[in-house]
Structures are given as C-alpha cells and as structure tokens.
C-alpha cells in the first residue's frame, strides 16, 4: 500500500483533445468514411497538444489505446519515446502515473482512435469483437447467449430480483444522461427523454431496453499527462491532478459469470474504492461528480452501491428520489456518457472529468466541482481514478 499511496498527486492532466463526434457521425451515417482509427487519434492528439500548450517533441512517453497498434501510431505521430505502452483508457492513466513516478517518462501522450461505426464492428453474434480477450463473450454461443449487453442484462435481472430495484428506476440513468447530453455540444444524442419514453422503448435483451445500450460511433481522444512539477511550469491551463487510483480484477470464475451473478462485482469495487480513497485521503462524500463506464446503463447503479455512494440494496430509490442528474444529489456522467455523448470506451469520461474540474463544463458545469471520480467494471476489471484541482 505504501508504494501505491505514493502515486497521489504525482501527475496531472494538462491537455485534452477529441475528434468531432457530431460532424463525423453525420458523415458516417451518410455513408462516408471520414477517417480510419489512426486518423481520429491524430486529430485528437493535435488538439490535446494545443490545449496543453506544448510541442510534439516535448513528449517522451506514449500510450496507445486498443484497437490501434502502438508502433504504427507512434510512427504516424513521429514520436520516439523513452517509455511506451498499450493500454485501455483507465489503465493508461494509471500507467502514465507509474511511468512518471518512476522517472521513465515526464510528458506522456495517451492516444486512442476507433472507426467502429464506419468499419461495422460487431459486439455480438458470429463476428463478436473481444472473444480473444474475454472467453465469456463467445463461450455461451451454443445457447444463443451473445453480446456484452446480454451479460449485463443477465447480471441486472438477478440484481433486480434480489433487491427490488425496478426497470423504471434503472431508466433514471438513460434519462439523466440524455439531459446532460442535451447540454453538451460534443454529444450525439440531444433529444430529451422521459421515464415513459424509456419504458416504451423496445427491449434488446430483456430486461435491458434500447436506451440502456451505448452508442456505436467513430472518434478519437487524446490526453497529455505530465509530472505535477512539469504541469506547474508549462501548462497553459489549470492542471488537473490525479489524486488517487485503484484497481482490482475479478478473474476467478469469469467465463461462467460467477463474479457477475454471485457478487455483482461488489468485492472488486470495494477493494478498488478502499485503495483509491485511502490514496487520495478522500471519501464518497468529497466527490462532486462521478463518471462511470456505461457501455450499458446498469453499470451505474452497481457502481453507486459498490463505491459507497448509497446503501446496499437502496440504489433504485437513490436514483429515483435523490437523483443522479445535474439537478440531483450526485451528478453522474455529466457529459452524457456512452449512452448519449459518444462511445469512446472510457476515454470520453476522462475528458469530461478534466473539463468539470477545470470549470469548462459550460451549461452542464457542476458547481464548485473539486473532485471527480471515474470508475469502470469492464468484465470485472474494477478500475478507479480521482481527478481534482
């Protein structure tokens, strides 16, 4: 724990960049292919450099997010770093902190691009993406059990049966995030919806409705993370410090869905929360907004209980009565998340967290926003980060 503690406030985000989700989505829907994954990543990288106020040659660390290849991305960006890696959104932030703490790098670029919509990537069925990484995505196909949404539908059905949480209460997630998206110029889905609209929407894999599923769209995201000292000396804008990180992976029994169905990933989230909050010297009450990886809406209630924002078994009431929108007690996914902003596989949540701490949230800005908590539970890999001023 001592080593982990030393990662607090070691590093800061000084630059963020995103491709034009709205414009590119319109072009893709019209049948065009504006860019490939590398192109989207390059657009985001250029914007992040500008946002940070540094030059490409200042960068000495590079992390490339799947699905794009590390070497080719480094080649295209013209970066020969002293340290590099390939990692998803959440782990790349933690790895950047570790590289900076150990002195392997001081100015790390994190880049991601995905042309999943224009390339017609499938997340279920005979060509389901991800089966090479997660056996549970493909192993149960002989029974027609496919798509990551179905795995979460199976999990949340049991959660509802055991706790009394209802579909209408789950609908609070889609409704709140759509409200946030309506206030976010980068969001794809801006038309407000109600609980009635949610309940009337068709099931995809019951109990999950259409509005419980994330978007599929093209785009790219980049972050520039540097040592806190470098950030103080060089950043154009207020640096956003990483106050705490946590990770705990529930691998045991993963393919037969044991940690999902028997535990709802709760032990992983609790361990992750303990590590992160201890490192940051903070608790759930100190957090002003939460960003939750939401490939499906039900990540949100499970995380709210798992990270201690409400009592066990009480999340349905918490979401409906206390509220998870900007108007409620605890704003969640303030940019609209994967459901309504853009599906950048956790990368857009990091950008939104930074914007909120900077005070760049425009019409969706959380008042006096000091600390933003990001967490994800993709296939039982609980990862958590606290951003703050």
């Amino acid at each position: 724990m001592a080593i982990v503690k030393s990662l607090s406030k070691v590093a800061a985000v000084i630059g963020i960049g995103e491709s034009d989700y709205v414009g590119d989505h319109a072009r893709v829907r019209a049948g065009e292919r504006p860019h490939d994954s590398y192109g989207y990543a390059a657009i985001a990288f250029n914007k992040a450099l500008k946002d940070a106020g540094i030059e490409r040659d200042d960068i000495d660390g590079l992390i490339v997010g799947p699905t794009i290849a590390y070497e080719r991305m480094g080649e295209l960006l013209g970066i020969n770093p002293t340290w590099g890696s390939q990692a998803d959104a959440m782990l790349s932030v933690i790895e950047a902190c570790m590289a900076i703490q150990t002195g392997m790098a001081e100015v790390v670029a994190l880049v991601y691009g995905n042309d999943q919509r224009s390339a017609a990537i499938q997340y279920g069925g005979p060509e389901a993406m991800g089966g090479n990484m997660f056996l549970s995505y493909i192993y149960h196909a002989p029974w027609g059990f496919t798509s990551q949404g179905a795995l979460y539908a199976m999990m949340f059905q049991r959660f509802m049966a055991l706790t009394g949480c209802t579909e209408a209460q789950l609908g609070e997630v889609a409704v709140a995030q759509r409200l946030h998206a309506s206030l976010n110029p980068h969001a794809l889905m801006k038309k407000l919806i109600t609980i009635e609209d949610y309940m009337a929407s068709r099931y995809i894999c019951e109990p999950l409705h259409l509005f419980d599923y994330c978007l599929i769209n093209d785009g790219g995201v980049a972050l520039i993370i540097t040592s806190a000292d470098y950030a103080k000396r060089n950043a154009k804008k207020k640096p956003v410090l990483i106050h705490g990180v946590g990770r705990y992976d529930a691998n045991k029994g993963a393919t037969s869905l044991e940690p999902r169905l028997l535990d709802f990933y709760r032990p992983a989230q609790e361990r992750c929360a303990e590590q992160m909050f201890n490192m940051a010297g903070l608790g759930p009450k100190d957090i002003d907004a939460v960003q939750i990886y939401d490939s499906f809406s039900c990540h949100v209630p499970l995380a709210l209980e798992g990270y201690g924002y409400c009592a066990t078994g009480d999340v349905g009431r918490f979401m409906a009565e206390e509220g998870i929108s900007l108007k409620g007690k605890l704003p969640v996914n303030t940019g609209g998340g994967h459901l309504s902003e853009t599906y950048m596989q956790g990368w857009n949540h990091q950008v939104e967290a930074v914007r909120q701490v900077r005070g760049e949230g425009l019409g969706r800005q959380v008042e006096n926003c000091r600390f933003v908590h990001y967490n994800s539970d993709v296939a039982g890999k609980a990862v958590s980060i606290i951003y703050g001023s």
């Binding site: 279920g124 069925g125 005979p126 089966g131 056996l135 493909i138 192993y139 149960h140 196909a141 002989p142 029974w143 027609g144 059990f145 496919t146 798509s147 179905a150 539908a153 199976m154 999990m155 059905q157 049991r158 049966a161 055991l162 068709r202 099931y203 995809i204 894999c205 019951e206 109990p207 045991k252 029994g253 393919t255 037969s256 869905l257 044991e258 169905l261 028997l262």
Partner: protein, 134 residues
C-alpha cells in the same frame, strides 16, 4: 448473419462427446474434488493437473434469465430465453429453458438437464423446470 458455433478447445471436445451421448460430463479435480467449467488443463481452485470426467447428476437452480428480442444468429430467431443455472455440483452454466416457464420471477426455480438438437451444433444440453412437488 451466420449460425452460432461452440468454442472447442482441446478440453472441450470430450465434454461435447458426452453431450452427444446425452450424458453431460465435466472434469472433477482428483486432488480437491472441485468441478470446473469451462473445461481446462488445470484446476483453477488448487492448480492440480489431475482430473477425471464425471457425469453430472443433472440438477441445478436458476440464478438469472434474459429474453432476447434482437436476432444475432440464424439458428436463434427471437424471442428466446437464456438461463444461468448453478449446477448442484457447483459450476454455473448458461442454457435455454424449454417447456413451461415460471410466472414472474425465475430466480431460484429448480431445473434439470435435458437435451435438444440444434441445426448448426447438433445435440445441446437444455434445462427444464422440475415440478415443485418432486
């Protein structure tokens, strides 16, 4: 679209042979007696490499269920259900509930293994409700 396919590793093949014989077997560890699923070289519980194939008693309990309304495979036109069942031996398996379905909540209902034929895969183990009185 296309039909669904089974994932057949080195260790899955004997299991599917037993399914085709209507006698579903899983590996039981020689050292710690744990059953494992999916089939694998080693016991995830105690890491032993020694095991034998053992027929399942054929009973379990529904942990959860879903109903598909969207089609992903040619051989699975919606609507159809998938149930997660914890076998009496311990492992959790996915399957389809055939025959009568429970009213309302399916969680906790007892089921037994039966066998169905799939156009693409051949014999596949399914589940059916055990009447409450038995």
């Amino acid at each position: 679209m296309a039909n669904s396919q089974a994932v057949i590793s080195l260790y899955d093949e004997p299991m599917w042979e037993s399914i085709r014989a209507h006698d579903w077997q899983l590996q039981q560890c020689d050292d710690c007696s744990e059953f494992r699923y999916p089939p694998a070289a080693n016991c995830p519980h105690c890491l032993s490499m020694d095991y034998h194939w053992k027929p399942l008693k054929g009973r379990g309990t529904i942990l959860s269920w879903v109903i598909y309304h969207r089609q992903y495979f040619d051989n699975f036109p919606p609507p159809y259900n998938v149930v997660a069942v914890q076998l009496d031996e311990g492992p959790i398996v996915m399957s389809n509930l055939v025959g009568p379905e429970p009213e309302g909540n399916w969680v906790g209902h007892k089921v037994e293994i039966c066998y169905g034929e799939d156009v693409a895969i051949g014999t596949v183990p399914k589940m059916r409700l055990i009447p409450q009185s038995s």
